[in-house]
């Protein structure tokens, strides 16, 4: 299960946040700040996942981090989720962003927050990855747009 999913800009601003467990706002902020600090440890040759030894969320969890362009994709996962699977998931999200926004960048996330959030909600529901097939996800998003146009 994915416990936390964040997309953070390189300037430390959180563009997308999802907490799939019951966590109060104050604790959410603490967790976010500590995860943002961790992004400085990521380098091109380093491993993309590590144990949450400092107990930022839970010592039994792992933190998966990947950097694309100016955005950090951070996921906190428990022992039921595969680390390589989450890395693939982040790659899928980025590929989808490229397809929807045509060479996506951080500005697309700023100007289209509704599309970005809808994309995440089609992939992860209640902390569980419900779909990884890009075609199926795009189909679901198209159906939503059709519904909006048909009002």
């Amino acid at each position: 299960m994915i416990k936390v999913f964040l997309i953070v800009s390189s300037s430390g601003k959180i563009r997308i946040r999802r907490f799939y467990d019951e966590v109060e706002f104050a604790r959410q902020q603490q967790i976010e700040q500590k995860l943002i600090v961790l992004t400085s440890k990521l380098s091109p040759n380093s491993c993309n996942f590590f144990k949450d030894l400092d107990g930022i969320y839970d010592k039994k969890c792992k933190i998966v981090m990947r950097f694309f362009g100016t955005l950090y994709f951070i996921a906190v996962i428990d022992e039921d989720e595969s680390e390589l699977g989450v890395l693939d998931l982040i790659q899928n999200i980025v590929d989808l962003m490229d397809k929807i926004f045509d060479n996506a960048c951080e500005l697309d996330v700023l100007y289209h927050p509704d599309k970005m959030n809808a994309l995440i909600d089609e992939i992860i529901v209640a902390g569980i990855v419900v779909e990884t097939n890009i075609m199926d996800i795009q189909e679901a998003l198209k159906q939503q747009e059709t519904q909006i146009k048909n009002k």
Partner: protein, 716 residues
Amino acid sequence: MFHLSQMDQIFLKSLADVVRTSRTTSQYDKLTFTTQTIADIKNEIQSRQESVRYQALLKLFFLAMEGNNIRWAEFQIINLMGSGDFQLKLGAQLAAHLVIDNQSQGLIMVTNVFIKEFKCGHVECSTTLSCLGTIANKDLSDNLLTHVLKLTTNTKPLIRKKAIAVLSKIFTINPMNISGNLEMVIQQLQKETNISVLACGISLFCSVLKVAPKLYPLFLSIVYDQISKQKSNWLLIKLVRISNKLISLEPRFQGKLIEHYTRLLNQTNSKSLQYELIYSIMKYFKNHSQLYESAGDILKQFLNHQDPNLRCLGLECLTHISTSAGLMEFQEQILESFKKSDYFSKLQILQLFKDFTNQQNFQTVIEFFLKHSDLESNHKIIESLIFIITKDKFINVDDPEKLLLIYIPVIAQKIDTIDNAIRFKEMLFELLTRVPGLKVYSDQLCNQILQTYATQSDSLQGPTLNIVQRHTQLKYSLNHREIIFKSLIMIVGESVKLLKLEALTNIIQFLEQLNILNCYESSLSDIDSLLFKIYIQIIKTDPQNEIIPQIEQLIKNIYNKLHNISIVKISFFYESLIQNKSKDQLQELQNLYEEDLPPINLEAQKFIKPPEGLDLSKSFQIDIEEIEKIKNTNSEYIEQKQLIQQQQQQQQSDSNQKEQEDQNNQIERRQENEEELKQFNNKVDPSPKKVFKINRDEELPPGIDQNDIKKFKEEE
């Protein structure tokens, strides 16, 4: 609600306008801009026009992304969730998690909104389920359970998989909902063909096992069924993961999986699936040698891989090899990968060696990590090495002498944090306590470590530990070097009686270097104590030694720097001097302490007032005869005390002689034995080596008082 006029609509700012303005606004004007934007949004979100409200919602998203608090908009967003316009509803559902948490009061209002949405088309249903998955709490999940259960039988796989995902959250929040409902879901999943829905079902089983592990028999058949026929890697990964949990609960399940695991391991090229399989095999299939060996071969590929993620996963697998012998097989590869690893992988490798180092690989491990420490991971390496050395009362150490004289000085030079300095100090004390004979080498140890401290002028840099002394309330700061310096000075002080004259002379010459006294001002009283002990030892053994005036000058230098020398120390010093020096020698020393000694605590007199009517300057005894009597009895007491002390000294010297004779006899016997064995051995050891035995019993060796060790620790 109100209708915006045409004029207002012209000046209405869209999200794009707000983003552009925000990026061009300076930091000083940001607060004003944000306040204005919030005021606009509060206005616009109550408009009758849906487009205006939608723009306000998008601007709320932007404010949240910029780090602003938008929880004031909770009611407005819940209101929008019940709107007739799908776009507004969708936007509000996507923004719900930004304003609602599990303690929000507004969640009560959401129940009916969601029930209404579940009865609409599949698109509304799908987006509502996604929203529910993020904001569900106990009350909401209890109220909506029956509706979500109905949706698990929906014709659309999109709705079914989301409903099952939400169900896993509902079961986790309130496990009471599981009974009566889980069986229905399992029956549906047994007929299911869609991979996404099945994957969500497996995730549901994992969630249920966390809160109700006793229900595992319900999942065994469906998991086994899917493992035997599935081809999707994504689903197989989930199946292998849940199989690990099921094997730990039902070990007989392991036997059923051998055939399928062997098949999958041979067929798959997917690294993620391979990793799951070898992880499971390393943990649970140790008794199946063929499968274990093939997993071991793949594991070696992971450890040697260029991709740091795969190397990291390989190391993760190794934690499940429970024996050191098993780890030895991979030791070379692990150490090689350490050189190329990043910070987190290095921590993982260090943890591995902390658990699995033994006497056989102890030297290799220590030498390797001392050689390959870098700035980033140095403190963790030193921490791990100290742990490995002291583990289980030095169980890994077979040559304490080598450890003390070769490895410990190198470790001391690499220490750069206070925590490690304290760990190092404790390790040193424990080692010298458990191996009594090692104290003879304390001067060599000090020379090796302290020489570098004398030449390096950056001893004051780095983080410091602030200490307040209990009796004197003196405040001082210690950095890591000074902590080690103090501990070494204490060790030498304890070993003064065992050291030769030459060694003591070297220590005096070392301490005479001016920058030592300047750099380590907080340790001056410890240096002082050491000098007193050395001084007394030299006077006992060689009263005419040339170094004595140097020591006296050094003590004087320190006294000039120390403003508040302890009375206890002075009295101890004088008592020892009276026993060992002549009257003339004592007279020469008088100049050292001409000034009046200050009280122990200068503030003490403020709190303790003398009783009224008492004149402190008046003598207690007026009768001269009485005074003479007291003097005589005191002199008799002093003579008797001297006699007793002389007898004690004689006894000590007798026992020391006996010990030396015993040691000499042992050495002679060993020599004789070695001469006999010379004919049979090719390798000849010419000099009889001292064998240092580590005392791992709970009780310390005789002559060592546990209270002394505690006292030293308390003073620190």
